[in-house]
């Protein structure tokens, strides 16, 4: 085995190294989970309590505003949207700060840095899987049977994973260079909660706003989750879905490109 270190040559074995270090990714995700729940009194229950409370607030909101109840119980309608939203916001928050939270690793050991933000997204994904169990329990309780559309769920989950990874990589790299992004991300997430179809359906949007609305890539993803979990009883819009897929792919490409470009300077700057 021979390794050549030269200016600008770090990329030669990059993808092979990424594969070699795949176990490290699993270890980092596992570490974050283990540490997070070690010091809390009720541990993993937090993963369930947060979406449950968010769901209750939104259901209450629907009652107060007086949105008509449809064929699907409000609880499920909202919960099916809260879960992907929560996954996205957690993944983005964690991955965007992941590099600066692992400063000591980055300045002391070599490994493909892509591992760090991706492990952060994976951690959020595990929480997401736990909340899916909550959803299953609620559905069984209400007696709501999902349909064949459930088969599409992995596709939408992959879309959400891709979008948060792409955006997370970009923000993580930016955060190393400009610490300002630490303050921007929570703000974006706060705004995102209101401009995503969580408390209401995307079809409630007036037609003239829909073009603009479709620019929010979460619209297509959240609609897709709803459609797939609720057995096709909620509408799904081809334009929304198409823009979601396009923006997700673009974010992955841009995220990886920018991250790789900035990566070799991380150890000097962080």
């Amino acid at each position: 085995m021979q390794l050549i270190i030269e200016p600008g040559l770090a990329s030669a074995n990059y993808w092979r190294d990424l594969w070699r270090y795949r176990e490290l990714m699993a270890f980092l995700a596992w570490r974050d989970l283990a540490v997070r729940y070690k010091q809390t009194a009720i541990g993993v229950a937090w993963a369930i309590i947060r979406p449950a409370l968010t769901m209750m607030v939104f259901v209450l909101f629907r009652r107060l505003v007086g949105i008509e109840r449809g064929a699907v119980p409000d609880v499920l309608l909202v919960l099916a949207a809260v879960l992907p939203w929560q996954f996205f916001s957690n993944a983005l928050t964690e991955s965007s700060t992941s590099l600066i939270n692992n400063t000591n690793l980055i300045s002391k050991v070599y490994f493909p840095r892509l591992i760090v933000p991706i492990a952060a997204v994976a951690t959020a994904f595990v929480d997401f899987l736990i909340t899916l169990a909550l959803l299953a329990v609620v559905m069984a309780w209400i007696g709501f049977a999902p349909g064949w559309t459930l088969l599409a769920l992995p596709f939408y989950a992959a879309l959400a994973f891709g979008l948060s990874t792409g955006a997370g990589l970009l923000l993580a790299a930016l955060n190393v260079e400009y610490r300002d992004f630490r303050y921007i991300v929570p703000f974006v997430i706060q705004v995102g909660l209101f401009i995503s179809p969580i408390a209401f359906a995307s079809t409630n949007m007036p037609a003239r706003w829909r073009g603009l609305y479709s620019l929010n890539p979460l619209v297509g993803i959240i609609d897709g989750f709803r459609w797939s979990i609720l057995g096709g009883r909620t509408p799904i819009d081809a334009t929304f879905l198409a823009t979601s897929v396009a923006i997700t792919l673009a974010s992955i490409v841009i995220g990886i490109w920018y991250f790789r470009r900035m990566e070799r300077g991380f150890a000097d700057v962080i």
């Binding site: 390794l3 270190i5 200016p7 770090a10 490290l24 000591n104 050991v109 400009y178 300002d180 070799r264």
Partner: protein, 427 residues
């Protein structure tokens, strides 16, 4: 002779030092935007200092290391040793030159990298192993050996935050020692732990070298380099000063070091602060004002700092402090103007010096490093996280002829003994 395991050719690393206000290593978006916006409106005065300056941490470094060789790298703080190791372990890229590594390289730039205090010893072995590049299967295979080497069997399920610093270091080194790479890059790890454990580490490294693998070793402890290394590399200001038999290189280094008890900071890149005042140099003086190389426990000394004041204006509320860390990186004490005598004012002058009186130094013998920190009106003016280092030699602190030793603890505390025996009352 076969091809060298490590071939370094014309290696150089350039850092960019930023002079813009703030001086922080990372920029705030605000500044970038403000600069871009104001650029077209700014008048070019011509004599403005450049916003950035290049600094070569390493320049034109070339050497070969062969199979089974143990190379000791020595040099003062800021000579480029850490930069060299960082390039060899691929943490940072060189700016010029090239390195060829023939074999798997593992670097221990700091023991316990990635250890998480909340996790148990067992969990940390796996985590740390993965970080150092071991596979899960490999860790499982060597697990028992690692635990036995560290001697922490009964604490495997205790979170490492409850470990003593000695146990912590032993466990961390044990993981690293079982990596079995062809090239092992070690930075100063042996400066920690008790004497018995140091012996064990030395043994392990000797074993690594004997089995035909190659070790690169950086240390301040010349005796250890002498003991362990066959070849030596002496770096000075980023360049190779000498390369040869370890014994000769150490002699050359020791000779130069004894003639330079002054630590210079003017060309240090890794500093923060707005630069309104800057540390220029530091030296140790005896109470009588004679420059010396080392402190002695219980002796009276002066730590003298030279600072520049680029604006040459009168300054008020100047604070200077020196944080002293031991070889384990633990803060031992801080010499601070706020505590001792209060922050001070400076008369208009382009430079000034600060003398810190150190009567009866209460530090135990050993290697120490220090940070320098200065503020003016509460704003950080200059901050050198690793500024320099000094040695404290054993001395007669108590005036009893018995010298406190490094293993006695972290510092010397003044105390006295009085013995009373109850006198039996006569009836």
């Amino acid at each position: 002779m076969s091809l060298p395991l490590i071939a370094v050719e014309g290696l150089g690393k350039k850092y960019r030092i930023q002079h813009h206000q703030g001086g922080a290593r990372y920029v705030a978006l605000r500044d970038v935007i403000a600069q871009k916006l104001s650029a077209p409106f700014r008048r070019r005065s011509g004599n403005e200092p450049p916003a950035t300056e290049d600094f070569w941490a390493l320049q034109d470094v070339s050497f070969d290391v062969h199979e089974g060789d143990v190379l000791g790298i020595i040099g003062r703080n800021g000579a480029g040793k850490s930069t060299l190791l960082k390039i060899l372990s691929r943490i940072t890229e060189p700016t010029a030159g090239r390195v060829v590594l023939r074999g798997r390289a593992a670097s221990l730039l700091e023991v316990g990298t990635g250890f998480h205090p909340e996790l148990s010893g067992r969990d940390n072995i796996f985590l740390n192993g993965a970080i150092l590049g071991m596979s899960r299967a490999e860790i499982i295979r060597k697990f028992d050996e690692i635990v036995a080497f560290a001697g922490t069997e009964q604490f495997l399920d205790t979170p490492v935050k409850r470990y003593s610093s000695g146990m912590y270091v032993r466990l961390a080194f044990a993981v690293a020692a079982h990596l079995e790479p062809e090239i092992l890059i070690v930075d100063e790890v042996l400066a920690v732990g008790d004497a018995e454990f140091q012996q064990k580490c030395l043994g392990k490294m000797g074993e690594v070298a004997k089995s035909g693998r190659t070790v690169l070793f950086v240390s301040h402890q010349l005796a250890m380099v002498d003991n362990l290394c066959r070849t030596g590399l002496f770096l000075e200001k980023g360049r190779v000063r000498m390369l040869g038999a370890a014994r000769d290189v150490i002699a050359a280094y020791a000779h130069r070091a004894s003639h330079r008890s002054v630590e210079q900071f003017s060309d240090r890149p890794n500093r923060r602060g707005n630069g309104s005042i800057r540390f220029e140099q530091a030296r140790i003086l005896t109470a009588a004002g004679q420059p010396v190389d080392a402190l002695v426990s219980g002796g009276d000394f002066i730590f003298e700092l030279q600072l520049t004041n680029p604006s040459a204006a009168a300054l008020r509320a100047v604070h200077v402090s020196v944080g002293i860390d031991n070889a384990l990186g633990q803060r031992v004490t801080t010499w601070s103007s706020t505590y001792a005598g209060g922050d001070f004012a400076i008369a208009p002058s382009p430079s000034f010096s600060v003398r810190i009186g150190l009567p009866r130094v209460a530090l135990l013998p050993g290697d120490y490093s220090y940070n320098l920190y200065a503020t003016v009106n509460g704003d950080v003016a200059d901050w050198l996280p690793p500024a320099g280092s000094f040695v404290v030699e054993p001395g007669d602190f108590f005036g009893t002829g018995r010298l406190p030793e490094a293993r006695d603890g972290s510092f010397i505390s003044e105390h006295s003994f009085t013995v009373e025996t109850p006198v039996a009352r006569r009836s």
